[in-house]
């Protein structure tokens, strides 16, 4: 952080209460806005001019309380205790006051100046709720300002109250919650220990912090808590348990007793949930209608990502190709031209090609979140996800994995707990994404052309098996990861079901755009760098012997007496063959040769090995790399000469390389291997460290190799291939 000292104001509140909407309204900036509890994971900030002061406004992730047991939950407490935190705007959804006031009570108890923004007053008015804000603010010893964040109502009053709260104060008034005498004694025991841990903390806050420790510590994974404090808390908890006391219950229920009285005194009794929202729920969670609508919505998303994005992706690819030919025509031939054309432009193309799917997926997810339907999606499908230890919220990311792992990994941020998010993120690249399809098509067209199995064509059966296998392996991987690498309690499913609301198009657009921008900058840099690296690997060193040889051959062609068109064709063929030989000579090509002994047992030769290395840039590149390796030049999956070349390829002993068995082995390898640096880049971005993408790559590669080995060797034993 650049300016440590700049004063900050936090915007805190329950998930989904309108924090980001208020943040945007106050800052005029564009923070993430969603309707799915717990979306905000990043720290979103903006500068706000308040009177003569410049303060930093921070949009804190949604929370129900300050109590923390994981580093993620600790974020908020850390932000609160930072010395430059001057005040907190606590946003409370007026329609869920009875529960929503728990957090501000906890905040105010902690001694930080708080302004309560009573949000969604429009919705509250519709259900006939009236709040005596004056009395409420007396009880809470803090200003309570009614606002409607979406309509920017009440913002001036809010800012005025905030400014007043920023004034230095002498004594801090806090609401007086009555805790049982025994608990008071416990707090008195703990206070001196806290004082040693936090010497700079005012003595008046030691007891409050002791409350926080009693409630948070034990079976936690919090960082930076001294052993002395842990031991003291442990002793108190043990002594309490021996006497049959439940400390958690004592603390929380004392607060709710106070809150219930405050609410009873200031709010009119609330009516039931709005009847139209209830009616929508009756349909959307109905056994037949609910599941049908669920299936249709999910299919719609899938179709849009899979087919709808296709023209845009095609256009981007065409444009990249156009830029490549243009640059090749302008720049003098040589290494610089190659670097720009095959390294830089190809790399930029590799990044922006994801834009359509990312934008679409986040527009969809934004709509589902803001409308409240995403919580129902999780509600409807949780039963299925629970079986493999996943959260109901993992469904949309997994489904998106069929189209492309990159936006799908980004979509896991709707999952609240980090551990659950990681499991999903590490399993979903096994879903057969659309970039694998061309490879299946090439292989099927090469080895299964015209064959059939009973009523079906062999190719169709192979394709269908790949997709089925991918789903099974993904779910199995999730279940295994959950038990091994990321053990811990199965995700609990305690999810608030927000009322239905109509999302605002502008906000949806801002959110999707923000996600895309972060991807382009953060993951994009990694993808670009890796593309250039791969280009260098497959281009250097160049063999002067090969280029000399082809220069002579070209001269011969030019001197021959044949027609211009024959000459041109001959030259093109020479170019393609030279490229193939140069590729074989490059580091990547040599590496392909070097690993051939490893590839033989799974039915591949060095040429496929080079293709696999090239495919790391993007799976589709496998095919164009093969085209170059076989000296054919430009090729796609429907390319006849490439299929023929593959069929004609022979091992040293004269046996064909591509048999139906080695074809199946190749498809399985591509299905299971993490042959995609963009996935690696985005997992790095979303998990925050290189550890997880490295793990992902390793486990998928080992899995792919072992599966291909089993298929190829097993198949040979059974007499296939």
């Amino acid at each position: 952080m650049s300016d440590e000292a700049s004063p900050q104001v936090l915007i805190a509140g329950n998930p989904n209460c309108g924090k980001s909407t208020l943040f945007n309204a106050l800052s005029g900036g564009s923070a993430h806005v969603g309707n799915y509890p717990g979306v905000t994971v990043d720290r979103t900030t903006a500068t706000l001019q308040l009177g003569s002061e410049q303060i930093e406004l921070v949009d804190v992730p949604g929370m129900y309380s300050l109590t923390a047991s994981s580093p993620e939950e600790q974020l908020a407490v850390d932000a609160l205790t930072e010395s430059n935190t001057r005040a907190v705007i606590c946003v409370v959804d007026a329609t869920t006051l009875e529960r929503g006031l728990y957090l501000p009570l906890q905040l105010i108890e902690s001694g930080v100046p708080v302004v309560i923004a009573l949000n969604m007053m429009d919705a509250a008015a519709r259900i006939g709720l009236r709040v005596d804000t004056e009395r409420l603010s007396e009880l809470f010893a803090s200003p309570v300002i009614p606002v409607v964040a979406t309509k920017r109502r009440g913002l001036d009053a809010l800012l005025a109250a905030l400014e007043a709260q920023l004034e230095p104060r002498s004594g801090i008034a806090t609401p007086e919650v009555t805790y049982p005498a025994e608990l008071q004694a416990d707090l008195a025991t703990l206070a001196p220990v806290i004082a040693r841990w936090r010497p700079q903390m005012p003595a008046s806050q030691h007891r409050v912090f002791a409350l926080w420790c009693l409630l948070s510590l034990g079976e936690d994974s919090l960082r930076g808590v001294p052993d002395e404090v842990r031991k003291a808390v442990g002793n108190i908890r043990r002594a309490a348990a021996e006497r049959g006391r439940n400390l958690d219950l004592e603390i929380v229920s004392s607060r709710y007793v106070w809150l219930d009285r405050a609410v009873a005194e200031t709010c009119s009794p609330q009516g039931p949930k709005p009847s139209w929202s209830e009616r929508i729920d009756r349909v959307l969670t109905h056994p037949i209608a609910g599941i049908s609508i669920f299936a249709v919505v999910m299919f719609g998303i899938f179709e849009a990502l899979f087919a709808g994005a296709e023209p845009l992706i095609g256009a981007i690819e065409t444009f990249t190709g156009f830029m490549q030919t243009q640059s090749a025509a302008i720049l003098p031939p040589g290494v610089l031209q190659d670097l720009i054309v095959d390294g830089v432009i190809a790399g930029v193309g590799n990044v922006i090609v994801f834009a359509p799917q990312i934008l679409m997926l986040f527009l969809f997810i934004g709509f589902l979140e803001d409308s409240g339907y995403l919580a129902r999606v999780a509600f409807v499908i949780d039963r299925v996800m629970k079986g493999v230890g996943l959260h109901g919220k993992a469904f949309v990311p997994l489904l998106s994995g069929f189209a492309c792992a990159v936006p799908a990994v980004m979509a896991t941020r709707t999952i609240e707990r980090r551990r659950d998010r990681l499991v999903t993120m590490l399993a979903l690249p096994l879903m057969s994404c659309s970039a694998r399809l061309p490879i299946y098509i090439l292989v099927v067209g090469t080895v299964f052309a015209g064959q059939s199995l009973g009523w079906f064509s062999a190719g169709a059966v192979a394709l269908f098996s790949m997709y089925t296998l991918s789903v099974l392996v993904t779910l199995a991987a999730a279940a295994v990861l959950r038990r091994t690498v990321l053990p811990g309690p199965a995700p609990t499913f305690v999810l608030e079901m927000p009322p239905y609301r109509w999302p605002s198009a502008g906000i949806l657009w801002i959110n999707a755009w923000r996600r895309l921008r972060v991807f382009l900058v953060d993951a994009g840099t990694i993808i670009l760098a890796m593309t250039i690296l791969l280009w260098a690997l497959l281009s250097f060193p160049k063999s002067t012997e090969v280029s000399g040889h082809y220069a002579t051959e070209r001269a011969q062609v030019l001197q021959s007496a044949s027609s211009e068109t024959t000459k041109a064709e001959a030259l093109q063929a020479l170019d393609a063959r030279e490229a193939g030989e140069q590729l074989a000579h490059s580091l990547g090509g040599r590496f392909g040769h070097a690993i051939e002994p490893v590839l033989r047992p799974i039915g591949f030769d060095w040429q496929i090995g080079v293709g696999i290395i090239g495919a790391f840039a993007a799976r589709e590149v496998f095919i164009s790399t093969l085209g170059v390796v076989f000296g054919i030049g430009e090729a796609d999956e429907e390319n006849k000469p490439l299929r023929q070349a593959l069929r004609d390829a022979r091992h040293a002993d004269g046996s064909p390389v591509m048999t139906p068995l080695s074809g199946v082995s190749l498809m399985i390898f591509f299905l299971l291997a993490c042959q995609c640096m963009s996935t690696i880049a985005v997992v790095k971005k979303e998990s925050g460290s290189w550890k997880w993408p490295v793990f992902l790559f390793s486990y998928m590669t080992v899995l792919a190799y072992l599966a291909s080995l089993a298929v190829y060797q097993g198949g040979q034993l059974l007499g296939y291939g």
């Binding site: 047991s69 009875e98 219950l249 929380v252 229920s253 009756r282 969670t285 919580a375 509600f379 949780d382």
Partner: protein
């Protein structure tokens, strides 16, 4: 005999008697306002039978059956 939330007929109000699950979860539920004496009602069951949706303190919350089974309830006003 102890009755839990899963035994509660759909739509019938009851009072929470106790929450006896793992500490992390019980603490979370309590902080979300599910305490002994709090009025609660099961609003609906997910199409596949699990999870279930509760109505408590004027908001809706869904929990899995396994968790709801650990929330004991008693008839309203019976203490």
């Amino acid at each position: 005999m102890k009755r839990s939330l899963v035994d509660l007929p759909l739509g019938q109000h009851a009072e929470i008697a106790s929450i006896d699950c793992e500490r992390r979860l019980s603490r979370r539920l309590m902080e979300m306002g599910l305490l002994p004496g709090t009025r609660v009602r099961v609003v609906r069951v997910a199409p596949l039978g699990d999870p279930i949706e509760l109505r408590v303190r004027n908001y809706s919350l869904s929990v899995r059956r396994a968790e709801a089974a650990k929330i004991a309830v008693r008839p309203e006003g019976a203490v």
